[in-house]
């Protein structure tokens, strides 16, 4: 039996991450609700911006990590890399769905419509979610464990391509839609907004790391269980 595991980092970092999450996350949420001034045209609902953008960042680069782990699986053939890639894909799906829910709430107050069918960023994000869903549907339909890991790794690379396209949708494509450009590119945020924004970005990244650890460990246990069952069957 393969008993080797990928040790990501020492155990004390777990405690540090959990402590940071418990300390920082409520502060970030409260700050976004009460600290920065309200943008008059959009009203209170613009405060969802601090959630929406932070979550979207994670949703966009999680597929890149997933594909990186997938490529490492193709090179090394160590099932742990596949488990890492699988866990990262789960997280990217969760965060992408959160973006799809929070976006229309903000859009309804800002643009007067929850969804803009002419907007390249919105369409590409939707496609990213569909491609992530197809990754999971495909994975669930393969019984051979080696093929499941190998083909999933390839699919994770293709999903990362869709994430790249989503990132570039407001940069490379002439967009007739309403979605604003890059937050960083503008440089026009007030000081209170900027502070709240970066604290939220940090908080959601820590949440992402904590969730990743929880999901990865659960997936690793599941993978071991399947492996033990297979060996007992044989």
């Amino acid at each position: 039996m393969n008993t080797r595991t990928i040790q990501l980092y020492p155990l004390w970092l777990d405690y540090l991450l959990f402590a940071l999450l418990i300390g920082l996350f409520p502060v970030a949420v409260l700050l976004s609700l009460y600290y920065p001034n309200v943008i008059l045209e959009q009203g209170l609902s613009h405060r969802i911006f601090y959630f929406h953008v932070s979550v979207a960042w994670v949703a966009l680069y999680a597929p890149a990590f997933s594909s990186l782990f997938g490529i490492l699986y193709i090179i090394r053939r160590d099932p742990n890399w596949d488990t890492l890639s699988y866990s990262m894909s789960k997280l990217s799906l969760i965060f992408s769905i959160l973006v799809l829910f929070s976006g229309p709430i903000w859009a309804y107050s800002a643009w007067g419509t929850p969804w803009d069918w002419t907007d390249a960023r919105l369409q590409s994000f939707f496609i990213l979610v569909v491609s992530l869903l197809s990754y999971f549907v495909f994975r669930s339909l393969i019984t051979d464990l080696n093929k499941k890991a190998m083909y999933s790794s390839f699919l994770s690379v293709l999903c990362a391509l869709n994430a790249l396209l989503t990132w570039g949708a407001i940069r490379w494509i002439e967009n007739p839609g309403n979605h604003p450009g890059s937050v960083l590119g503008k440089g026009g945020m007030d000081k209170d907004m900027k502070e709240t924004f970066w604290i939220n970005v940090l908080a959601y990244h820590i949440l992402f790391l904590v969730l990743f650890l929880v999901i990865y460990r659960k997936d690793k246990l599941d993978a071991k269980l399947v492996q033990v069952r297979e060996e007992m069957d044989n």
């Binding site: 569909v130 390839f154 396209l165």
Partner: protein, 218 residues
């Protein structure tokens, strides 16, 4: 060997000839609906026609790849070929034949577009713009389609899974193709970077497909 492989692929497509005819009928119906419902009430602009063309290309690629995959599985050709033929040769032959066939049906698609939509003038510049981008686009879709059809073989549902994979994962090619043509028609000059992007997609899907054949063997 490559010649025999090509013959085999053509024979497989020959088995799906009824499907090919239905493909052409479907294409005509698809364009006629747009012509009847939109062109009559107000002329479609070039951007919309370009979008329609790429939607047509996707539809053609999707149906053709599904049909050939089905025929290959039903005839047992998939397993037999893989026993005796190097996998990369089989991948290249299949992609090449798919590309050729898609290319010919797409010429038909173009003719229909010129016939149905007034804003697309039958001029050499227009023709050049259309061909320039849909060749690398079709090449990308062929490589991607063959790669995904191999993946679908590994699942319990076989080629039924193909649309779930092909629809979301071919979108980057379609968007790149549409964006390239939109730039060409608005500025009237070839956008080299768009062309490079489309060829980069072809190379990427070709490499992924070859790699998958190499490492995904039984």
């Amino acid at each position: 060997m490559f010649k025999y492989l090509l013959l085999k692929e053509f024979q497989l497509i020959g088995r799906a000839k009824n499907g090919l005819l239905s493909l052409i009928s479907l294409l005509m119906a698809f364009l006629f609906i747009f012509h009847y419902s939109l062109e009559n009430s107000g002329k479609l602009d070039v951007n919309s026609i370009v979008g329609l063309k790429w939607a047509g290309i996707f539809l053609l690629a999707f149906i053709l790849i599904s049909q050939v995959t089905y025929e290959e599985r039903e005839s047992g050709a998939y397993r037999i070929t893989r026993l005796y033929i190097p996998s990369h040769l089989e991948f290249l032959a299949k992609s090449f034949v798919l590309f050729l066939l898609l290319f010919f049906v797409e010429i038909f698609l173009l003719l229909l577009l010129f016939l149905f939509f007034e804003n697309l003038h039958f001029e050499s510049e227009n023709l050049f713009g259309q061909f320039l981008y849909f060749i690398p686009g079709t090449l990308s879709l062929s490589f991607l389609g063959v790669t995904l059809s191999q993946m679908s073989f590994a699942t319990r549902l076989k080629e039924v899974v193909l649309p779930i994979l092909l629809i979301p994962l071919s979108i980057p090619v379609l968007i790149a193709g549409m964006e390239a043509e939109r730039k060409y028609f608005s500025k009237g000059e070839v956008n080299t970077s768009s062309l490079i992007v489309l060829f980069a997609f072809s190379v990427l899907y070709l490499s992924l497909g070859l790699l998958l054949r190499e490492v995904g063997e039984d």
